[in-house]
Symmetry: D2
Subunit: 387 residues, 4 copies
């Protein structure tokens, strides 16, 4: 048993492995959030975070979890009783639906089998049917962290346009931002929701909203009560490089360093790396003789892979064996997938050999758990990695 | 000019100087927030944070600023249109009032001169007059960070009891918790609001609510919309040592270390240290021939001192000189005190010699700014420190 | 190419991967080396380092590289012109020989093929032939870092005893200490030489000498000039928990943490882990169809494995490919092994999945370099790891 | 008592307060000391350290204390039985003398009263009398850490030149380098000895030798045995940006950051800052009615001040009171000054307010110890600091 030596393998689909340089950056002394040094820091991160969202416009940063950024997207743009269109693509899409209802919105929730993303055809159909334009917003989870399925946002956008419908497009990029190609401006997204602990390679503690001009206009009439999440005072303060309340300085230090890392590698390279790691992971899963949960080739997630086990095996048992024997954390199946899948996170600060170690651990863990597999899985992955 | 060598003097009334060991604790790798190591961490901090609030009951921890914890106190206990009683003790009391109104509450705002705390007699009088018990809550800022005035919460409690009024007592301890004696349970507070970056010696990023049984009961009927701030799912998840959304793991590492520091010194010693530093600071201010803003001897803050200058001097100019020449940040006058006061923070991780250095910088800065002072101020402070 | 994301794989046979907690421990502020806090630190590490050497006696700690500790072993026990017996087991044994000659000693250097350790029979024979007891010391490298061969010290000790020869036994444990079973007292070693950056999991900067009673007596008559390396003032100062010159405080902080990690895992478990990783590595090498440099089954190193390539392949090219493509550092062939071998370090803070990642990188690198191998090597290693 | 809160005041004359950014730099993962990243680091620090010594020539860096660098200066340039001229300027000059004798050199030791530096007139006289040029080297401690006296190296150089004597000039700059103006090349020094933990703001663990052309020539004929300290293999390896033995990577990371800090402030500003702090300190000492140990106005140290107490007071008692009550470490009197002086370090990473805090602590500690002083000392220092 080597459980307590060497580095823990944190291969859940977030929080991800925080680079050493980000942790060190966060260990800088906290400074006066109203002084000139802070203003420089704020200006820097507020400007440099935009390209990661694919936007030229302001991005709001909250001291919050990603859940907070979900709430912010809703309370800034909508009013009590507003109708929104959402899709049951998995556990987090369901939670976001619950939140919307809790806040007093009416959700049209399109059922799903948790193996596919949002169907653009259904979007088109639902909006076309909504002749009175009663639907105020469409809520989409770009990359379902619970299933490893990536919805096709550009096609969804096209569907909305085709229906000539004025609904806002709200997109959760919590486990895709900084890992999978994403373009807030180009794809016409109105509010992009995200957080720090996935592709941005930070600890949890920051929530984000990227905001279109249209969303900002909608915010003027939105009547859900809000204070902490209110974009207006934040955007105003940000223009002077400050925040309306005490900002999470040390996480912003970390963000500055994380942005430097992303810029150094180059976003297209970051996305290509994740694509390649995802492909290698799927090669392993298939060679083992197991099934990837995602059922549509066009929707495979590049940041995580959910692996389905047959009814006769408990995925949580496999995860426990792997944690005990190999000091690796994998993601559990959530909601109705509990025990049926385990999830391999391959996002954030990650490289070929760590993926090889990860897949070796999964392979050995499956064998030790009595799941019958073909031992050529790892070798299949290496062939992809080797190129 | 020594501006860029040595350690910056961060003597604003928060964020405070974060101890090195807390920064190092926060630099530990982020872990699986659903795994056994996290459960241990969560259980530990959730239990050990209680004595700091003076409570035996659960304390809710948010990834948020203190402002978020303000909002949480309101949305969990109140309903749209509820009346609350608040007091204009300074800038932050005014902001909290604004928030309450923004969320749809009706605020009875008792005016004040920003030099005194909440008057228990006025509390008694207002509540006595409210025979229909239309006032749902009394909002009190324990230690006004903008003025250095500490309201007498036990007397306020007594006034409420005397009026035999059922209003909830909501108290902001943002700049008092962990610095000034405070007892949530003993003083009968219903919701105590606080945050990480002051007496808890952490960077900003955590908000707190300590909650009485009565507040929890009130929460059942409270109808302000809420999701992120909702106590119920958090308290439920906390019972299993988890959080309903991704918790700010690295700040919790820091909290664990900060609690160890407070426990090692002992809370009564921590409070006595702050009392002594505040007394030494006031001795300096008076010996300089200047005025402490706080007008009531019973209400002097032990965590910060606001110093009043005559109309002919701009306190912000003095602060600039001190920052430029001595690399020390002081707090600005806020709201209607802009330019009229500067604030010396002497809270958090702090000791006698750092206070001496701080007061030396203030003394030299006043002299360099042309404020006429008696140079015996520092010496007067040393006499207090020496004992 | 993933070269710049994720964690670098430092798989040279030292410096090894320093655990995060050791790096954080080293980041504590430097303190007064004559004050009470330092005395506590010194006492603690001086006591707790002994079991790692398998000794109950004092261990001297130098601010130096391991080379310095080599020199200390010689200058403290020997006089100009003294004869010593040494063995050409590899590059470092040769360098130590060079040092001894440079310091004015006469070295009987038994030639070797760099694939075997010290032959106890030759020790016995040489000492038996030395009837006048002209040989003052026997110099042995326990684990040759350049070849991955571990000499059998207990058998060497037995050979000396059998010859009834008074020579001192000086042993270099630079790449074995804390990784491979070693017992200074039980095996009758007189001076054990070591350093910080291998099994002790620290950065370079500390040298060590464990010293027998007999060595200490020899030191009284030793006439090689010495000052910095002189044991006497160090041992005297250490008794009062101080050092005769300014000690490397921050590395001692790191040492304290590293000792805690070794104690937590338990030395026997640490050794077993390294044995297992070495066995898995050899299984991979053989399955690839390549040759382990070490030619004697009884002498396989548990801390590193040197892999031999045929004349037609340049091992340094393979290393370059692996560094470029997989961000992994491997050890080069040294001295007469240049280009003929590469060395895989599997010592220090290390676990199963990191070994799997390491071997995956070697396998892919060999393939990319055109070295014909059987791709089942990694799988063979996993079978060992899985158990 | 505030002993355990806030930051310790480390005001011994070294080790000095290590800047946070240096500690963080040192916490970077150790890398392959034979790889390209290390070569870049080595090249960078080897080049950028030169201006700090005032030299255009190579500087040798040892993993060692400053004592090691003393030994290196001697063993590289001298032969057994060589005569050297040295001066009893204090404790460290005496220790260096002891080392020279221990290594087999013959020392002409000019007695002194530990209150003055090396007298250039005596240098001139001694060398003039040495008509046979039997004196191989002159050993000078630039800044005596035990007394706070700075010898006038340019005048000593002039005295040697005036005597037209070929002796090498060896200078210890352990507590002056990076704090007090120093010019290896311009002043014609042959070997400059230094270390990391004073003006270079690093933890202990690095020793330095700056080497003149003449010293390098002398080294060719020097016959003291040497291996670890031998300049030749180090200079050769450094040309290829490597080291002949494993270098202390993490301290080199720290050095790189420390050099950046010195460059950012500018060496002339660094020296001026120390001059000013020393002047303020002396102003306090005199205003207290106490005596500075240094007896010659031309020789006051800018990096530390030794304060003399009358026979009736034990300086170590004062230091204990200050450590207990104010958590500040001061330097003890060493050797024959034990109990007679305490030493205030004001070197390294330091600023006006920290000096004010330091002097406040000394003032209160003297009062609490019953040493009769005029309490205007601190105020006198502030007048200097305020300018």
């Amino acid at each position: 048993m080597a459980a307590n030596s060497g580095r823990h393998f944190l291969q859940i689909p977030g929080p991800t492995n925080v680079p050493d340089s980000v942790l060190r950056a966060m260990a800088q002394p906290t400074i006066d959030h109203r002084g000139p040094d802070f203003a420089e820091l704020a200006q820097d991160v507020l400007r440099r975070v935009r390209p990661v969202f694919g936007t030229d416009r302001p991005v709001v940063i909250y001291p919050s979890s990603g859940t907070g950024a979900w709430e912010a997207a809703l309370v800034n743009t909508l009013s009590p009783g507003d109708r929104v269109l959402a899709f049951e693509t998995g556990h987090f899409a369901t939670l976001w639906r619950d939140m919307a209802e809790g806040l007093g919105l009416v959700v049209d929730f399109v059922p799903g089998d948790w193996r596919r993303g949002v169907d653009p055809a259904v979007v088109a159909e639902r909006l076309a049917a909504d002749e009175q334009h009663g639907i105020a917003a469409v809520m989409v989870v770009h990359n379902e962290t619970s299933t490893g399925v990536t919805s096709r946002v550009p096609e969804i956008r096209a569907a909305i346009d085709e229906a000539n419908h004025p609904a806002l497009l709200l997109v959760d990029t919590i486990s895709s931002l900084g890992s999978i190609d994403y373009r807030h401006d180009e794809w016409g997204v109105d509010v992009t929701v995200s957080c720090s602990q996935k592709g941005l390679m930070l600890p949890p503690g920051l929530g984000f909203n990227a905001i279109s001009e249209k969303a900002l206009t909608a915010a003027e009439g939105a009547r859900l009560p809000k204070s902490y999440w209110n974009w207006t005072p934040i955007l105003e303060a940000n223009e002077r490089s400050f925040f309306p309340y005490t900002p999470p300085t040390n996480l912003l230090y970390g963000l500055r360093e994380a942005l430097s890392l992303l810029e150094a590698e180059g976003l297209p390279n970051v996305f290509a790396r994740h694509d390649r790691h995802a492909e290698a992971t799927r090669a392993a899963v298939r060679a083992w003789g197991l099934e990837v949960l995602c059922a549509d080739e066009r929707e495979h997630s590049s940041s995580l892979t959910a692996v389905r086990l047959g009814e006769e095996h408990d995925a949580n048992k496999v995860r426990e064996v792997i944690l005990d024997r190999f000091d690796m954390s994998l993601g559990a199946g959530l909601g109705k997938l509990t025990g049926r899948v385990f999830r391999i996170g391959h996002l954030g600060d990650f490289n070929d050999l760590t993926l090889a170690g990860t897949l070796a651990g999964v392979q050995m863990g499956l064998e030790l758990s009595g799941v019958p597999i073909d031992p050529n899985g790892l070798q299949a992955a290496l062939e992809v990695l080797r190129g």
